[in-house]
Symmetry: C2
Subunit: 608 residues, 2 copies
C-alpha cells in the first residue's frame, strides 16, 4: 500500500510538523537561515566595485567608505530585527507585521516586494554561483546560461519532490564558506604583494561624484538581502526561541559585517577591478592564496552555498503564496498540497519567473543585482514602520527606546529605498516598481472576485434544504461484457431509471454494428433499455452529448446522471492499452452539459 509508507506516526502533536529535537540551535539557525545573507558576500562587494570602476583606480578607493555606510545600515537592521523577533515570536515577516499594523493594502505591497525578492534571489544566487564555477573553469563561460538553467532545474526538481530540509546538513557548507572567506581576508591582508595579480582598473571615464557613490551604495546593499530571514522563522528555533533567534541575528550581523569590511579592505589593498569572466571574490582568492587547490575549494564552496541560497527562496515563497491564497489574494491552488507535502504551484511559478530572469539577463549576475535590493528594502522599511506602530499601540515599559530604535531603522531603510529607486530607476528599478504595482492590483482584483464568488454562493446565509429528485442514469456502453454488467449494476443501484446508450459507427474500433449490438443486448436481456445512436460524423462524443441535451430538455424534472465505465488494468504498462474514451467523453460532457458525471473503474483480472 503506497500511502501507508508515509510516516504518519512520526508526527508531532502541536500540528507544526517539527519535533523539538529537530528545532534549531544558534549555530544551526545561523547555517540554515543566514546562509542566504552570508552567501551574498559573493556578489555584494563586486556590485560596489562594478559601479566605482568607471572612475578608475581613484573610484575604487571609495570602496571602503561605501562599505562602511552599508555596514552601519546592517547594524541598524540587526538591532531592529532583534526587536521584531521579540515582538513577533510566531514569525514576523514583512507581510505579517504590515498586515497587523499597517492595513491590508500595505501588506500587499510588502507581499509583492517579497515575491519579487524571492524570484530575484533565485536568479542572482544561481547566476553568481555559476560565475564562481566559470571563474574556476573559464572554458565554461560560454555555456553559463545553460549552466544556470541546469542548476535551476535541479533545485526545482528537488523542491517539487519535496525533500525534508535538514538544518544539520547545511552547517558544513556554511562553515566551510565562512572559514574560506575569512582565510582569504586574513592571508590577503598579511601579504605584501598579491600572488596572482588581479585585473587592474582601467582609465576613469567618470569622476567620483555623489551620484556615483549613491549608486555604489545602492548596488552594494544587495549584500544585506537575507538578514530578515531569522525574524520570519522564530518558531523553528529550540526553546527559549526568542533568545536563540536574537542571538542568531546578532551573530549574523557581526559575521556579515566582518566579511564585508574584510573583503572591502582587500579590494582596496590589491586594487581589484571587475572582470566579466572572473568574479571579484575569485580574483581576491587568487591574489591571497594563489591559483592552487585552495582556490578551487573556495570556488566550489561558493557555488554550493549560492545554490543553497537560491534554494531558500523555494522554502519561503511557496509558503508566502499559500498565506496569500488563504487570504484570497492569489488563486486558491497556491494553498493546495496534493500528493506530496509541497505547494507545487508556488514552486513552479517561482522557477518559471527565475528562468525568465536568468535567460533574459543571459546569466549575468551584475545585470540582476542592481534591482535586487529594491524589493528587499521596501520590505525592511514596511516592517520597521509597522514595528514603530506596534510599540506605540503596546506602550509597554521602555517602549519609547524600542520605538526610537525601530524608527531609526525605518528612516535609514526608507532613505536607502529612495536611494535605490532613484539611483537604479533606469537600470531596471522602474521594472520592480511596475511589478509591485501590477502584483498589488492583481491581488486586489483576485480578492474582489473571490468576494463576488462568495456572494454567488450565498456564503454566510443558510441555504434552503437539499431537495431529492427522481434520478435518470445514462450508461454509455460499447459491448456486452463484464464491464458493461458492472456499470449497469452500479447504475441500477443509483438511479430510479437506467438507460444504456451506444454509438454505432463502422469506422470506429470497438464500435460494433448496430445490429450486432442489438442482438447481443436482446440475448443478454439485462432489463435496461438500449438506445443505439448512429453517428453522422465520426465523432464519438457528439452523439452522446446531443442525446444528453435532448434528455435534459425533455425530462426537466429529473436529475440526469451519466455513468462512464472504464476498465482498470492491473499493471501500469497495461494501462497504456486502455482507450481513453472515458476521459474524452467526460471532458466533452462536462464542457457542453450540466449533468452529473460518474466514473466507475472496474478492475479487470487479466489472466496470464
Amino acid at each position: 500500500m503506497p500511502e501507508s509508507t508515509d510516516a504518519a506516526g512520526d508526527q508531532p502533536d502541536d500540528g507544526s510538523g517539527v519535533r523539538e529535537r529537530d528545532r534549531l540551535t544558534v549555530p544551526q539557525g545561523l547555517a540554515a537561515l543566514s546562509l542566504d545573507a552570508l552567501a551574498s558576500v559573493a556578489y555584494g562587494p563586486e556590485a560596489i566595485v562594478v559601479v566605482l570602476a568607471v572612475a578608475g583606480g581613484h573610484g575604487l578607493g571609495f570602496t571602503m567608505p561605501v562599505t562602511v555606510a552599508i555596514v552601519v545600515l546592517l547594524a541598524a537592521l540587526t538591532s531592529s530585527y532583534r526587536q521584531v523577533i521579540a515582538a513577533f515570536p510566531n514569525g514576523g515577516g514583512a507581510y505579517a507585521v504590515a498586515g497587523r499594523h499597517l492595513g491590508r493594502r500595505v501588506s500587499l505591497v510588502a507581499a509583492a516586494s517579497l515575491i519579487i525578492d524571492y524570484v530575484l534571489n533565485v536568479a542572482v544566487s544561481i547566476s553568481a554561483g555559476v560565475a564562481a564555477l566559470t571563474s574556476a573553469f573559464p572554458s565554461l563561460y560560454g555555456e553559463r546560461v545553460w549552466l544556470c538553467v541546469l542548476v535551476l532545474a535541479l533545485i526545482t526538481g528537488v523542491n517539487l519532490y519535496g525533500v525534508a530540509e535538514s538544518a544539520k546538513a547545511l552547517i558544513l557548507p556554511t562553515v566551510v564558506f565562512v572559514v574560506a572567506v575569512l582565510t582569504v581576508i586574513a592571508v590577503g591582508l598579511l601579504r605584501a604583494h598579491p600572488v596572482v595579480q588581479p585585473t587592474r582598473p582601467g582609465p576613469a571615464t567618470e569622476t567620483v561624484g555623489l551620484l556615483l557613490l549613491l549608486k555604489a551604495f545602492a548596488s552594494g546593499c544587495a549584500a544585506l538581502t537575507g538578514v530578515e530571514a531569522i525574524a520570519n522563522a522564530v518558531p523553528t528555533f529550540r526553546s527559549p526561541r526568542v533568545k536563540r533567534a536574537q542571538r542568531t541575528e546578532i551573530a549574523l550581523g557581526a559575521l556579515l559585517g566582518t566579511m564585508l569590511l574584510g573583503l572591502s579592505a582587500l579590494i582596496g589593498r590589491f586594487q581589484v577591478a571587475p572582470n566579466p569572466t572572473k568574479t571579484v571574490l575569485a580574483q581576491l582568492t587568487e591574489a591571497a592564496l594563489g591559483h592552487n587547490a585552495a582556490f578551487y575549494v573556495v570556488q566550489f564552496t561558493t557555488m554550493a552555498l549560492l545554490a543553497l541560497a537560491a534554494n531558500t527562496s523555494f522554502g519561503g515563497m511557496p509558503v508566502l503564496t499559500s498565506l496569500l491564497a488563504r487570504d484570497h489574494h492569489v488563486p486558491h491552488v497556491f494553498a493546495l498540497r496534493a500528493d506530496r507535502q509541497v505547494y507545487r504551484h508556488g514552486v513552479l511559478v517561482l522557477a518559471g519567473a527565475a528562468l525568465v530572469l536568468l535567460v533574459g539577463a543571459r546569466g549575468d549576475t551584475q545585470a540582476l543585482v542592481p534591482v535586487f535590493a529594491i524589493g528587499v528594502f521596501i520590505g525592511f522599511t514596511l516592517s520597521q514602520i509597522g514595528m514603530v506602530r506596534h510599540w506605540w499601540i503596546e506602550r509597554g515599559s521602555g517602549w519609547r527606546g524600542r520605538a526610537v530604535l525601530n524608527g531609526l531603522g525605518a528612516v535609514l531603510t526608507a532613505v536607502a529605498t529612495v536611494i535605490e529607486l532613484v539611483a537604479k530607476f533606469d537600470k531596471g528599478g522602474w521594472l520592480v516598481f511596475l511589478a509591485v504595482a501590477v502584483l498589488v492590483l492583481l491581488f486586489e482584483s483576485i480578492h474582489r472576485t473571490y468576494q463576488r464568488i462568495g456572494r454567488g454562493l450565498h456564503v454566510g446565509e443558510v441555504p434552503g434544504p437539499p431537495r431529492e429528485r427522481r434520478s435518470l442514469v445514462v450508461v454509455p456502453v460499447g459491448a456486452v461484457n463484464l464491464l458493461t454488467r458492472e456499470a449497469l449494476s452500479a447504475a441500477l443501484s443509483l438511479g430510479d431509471e437506467v438507460r444504456a446508450v451506444t454509438v454505432a459507427h463502422p469506422e470506429d474500433v470497438d464500435a460494433p454494428s448496430s445490429e450486432r449490438m442489438r442482438e447481443a443486448w436482446e440475448q443478454w436481456h439485462p432489463d435496461v433499455p438500449l438506445t443505439v445512436l448512429t453517428s453522422r460524423t465520426r465523432s464519438l462524443t457528439r452523439p452522446i452529448v446531443d442525446y444528453l441535451r435532448r434528455l435534459s430538455e425533455l425530462d426537466e424534472h429529473d436529475r440526469l446522471v451519466v455513468l462512464i465505465p472504464e476498465m482498470q488494468l492491473p499493471h501500469p504498462w497495461q494501462r497504456l492499452l486502455q482507450n481513453q474514451r472515458g476521459a474524452v467523453l467526460d471532458r466533452a460532457i462536462r464542457r457542453y452539459t450540466d449533468v452529473v458525471i460518474c466514473r466507475l473503474r472496474f478492475r479487470v483480472d487479466v489472466p496470464r
Copy 2:
C-alpha cells in the same frame, strides 16, 4: 454553441467523408499523391554522387549507369503497381495486401517497415528542404538543426489542428517544381559551359568496384520512395477510379524517370561533386541558370515541395496506426479521434520520432538517406509477393502474364532490398533491421495482451444479469453554501443513504474549524449526517481515502459512491481561481479505492 459549428450537414452519404466533386482527377492525383516521389529527386541523385565521389571524377562518370539501373527498377515498379491498383481498388497498401495474402505476421513486418518509412520520409524531406534553403542562404547553414526543428514543429502543429488537405492547393507547387527541374535540365544540356562552376571532384581515394556501384545504387533508390502512394489511395480518385489511378501511376513513372535521367546527364556533363553546404540540385541550377532570381525560385520551390512531402507522412502514418489499433496491434488510443478529427497520438509519435532522427543526424540529409530506402523496399517486395499469390488464387483470364509481371517486380525489389541491407548494414541498415524486429515483437505482445484482456472481460460470453444494490453516497463538503446544497440534493437523488464528510485542519484554506462547521451544519439542518475528520497530517486526501476504505470494509454489501461537488465559474479566467481540490481528491480516491466517483459541476452565478 461551439459544437454546432461543425459542418455536419455537408457530409457525403457513403461514410468516407469525401464528396465526388472533391475527388481527384489525374493531374490532381499527380500533384497530391506523387509529390512525395517527385520531391525525392532533390536528394536521390545527390545520394548517388556522394557515394561515387570517393572514386573521384572517374567514379562520378558512373552516375548515369547507376541511374539507368534505378530507372529500370522504377519501370518495373510502376507496371507492378498498375496491377496492384486494379486488384485492390479499395486501397492496396503493403499492410493490406500482405495481410490478405501473406498472413498476419508478414503484414506486421510490412506495417513496421511502413512506419519506419513514414518517419524517415519526414526526417529526410525536412532536412533536404532545409538544405535547399541553406544552399540559397549559406549564412543559415550553422542554424540548420534549428530550422529543421522549426519546420517540423510547423507541420506538426498544422496536422494536430487538422486542416482539410486540398489537392487543388498542391497542384501549383508541384507544377512549379517539375517545370523548374525540367528547365534546369533542358537549359543545362544546351549549354557548352556551366554559368557557375560547380564543386570539382577531389582526388580518388577508392577505385570503382562492384561494391561501390551497389552502394551507389542502394543509396540512389531513395529516389523511388513514394511511388506506392497512388496505389494506397485509389478510393480518393474520381470515377472511373481504377483507370484514373493507373494513368496517374504511369504519368508519375514517366515524369520521375525523365527527371532522374536528365539530372544524371547534367551531373555527368558538369562533373558535379558533393558539397556539404550546397546541394547537388542547387549546384546544377547555378551551373545551368546562373546565380540569379531563377536560382532562388528553384531553391524556394524545392524547399516548399519537400515540406509538403514531409507532410504526406502525416497523412499516412496516423491512418496506418489507427488500422493497427483496430486490429489490436497498437494501443487503442491510436484509433481515438477526440475533439478534432485527427488521430492525435499517431501525429505526435511521428513527430517525436522524426525529431529524434533530425537532431541525431544534426539535420544532415545524407546521413539519413542511406537507410531510407530499406524500409520502402521491404514494403515493395512484400506487396509484389502478395500480388503473385493474389493472381495465383484468382486465376482469372491472363493471370499468368500478370503474375509474371508482379513476380519480376518481386524479384527485382527483393534483390534491391538485399543490396540495400548488405551495402548499408554498417551505415544504419542494422538499425532499420532492429527497429522492424522490435516493432513486430511489440505489435505481437500488444495483440496478445488485448486477447488476455478480452478473456478477462469474458468477451463472447453472455454475462450474468446486472444486480441492484443499496447505495451509500458520501459527499465531501467544505462549508455550508449553495454548492453544498446542490451536492446534497444530487446525492439524495442518487443514494439510499447519504453522508457528508469534512476534513478539519487549522492550516488549510477553506477548511473551517470543526466546531464552526458543526454549528453551521446544525443551524442548516439538512437531514444528512456530517462526519468531521481531523487530519493528523496536512493532507487533504488521506483522511477521506482512509474513511472510504473503512466504510467499504464495514458496509461490504453497499454500493459505495463519492460525490465531489465543484463550482464552475462563468468566465475562463475566473476558472483559474477554482481550487483544484476536486481533481486532487478524484485522483487520490481513484488510485486507492474502488468506489464510484461522481463529479458535480455547479455553475455559480458571479454577480458584478
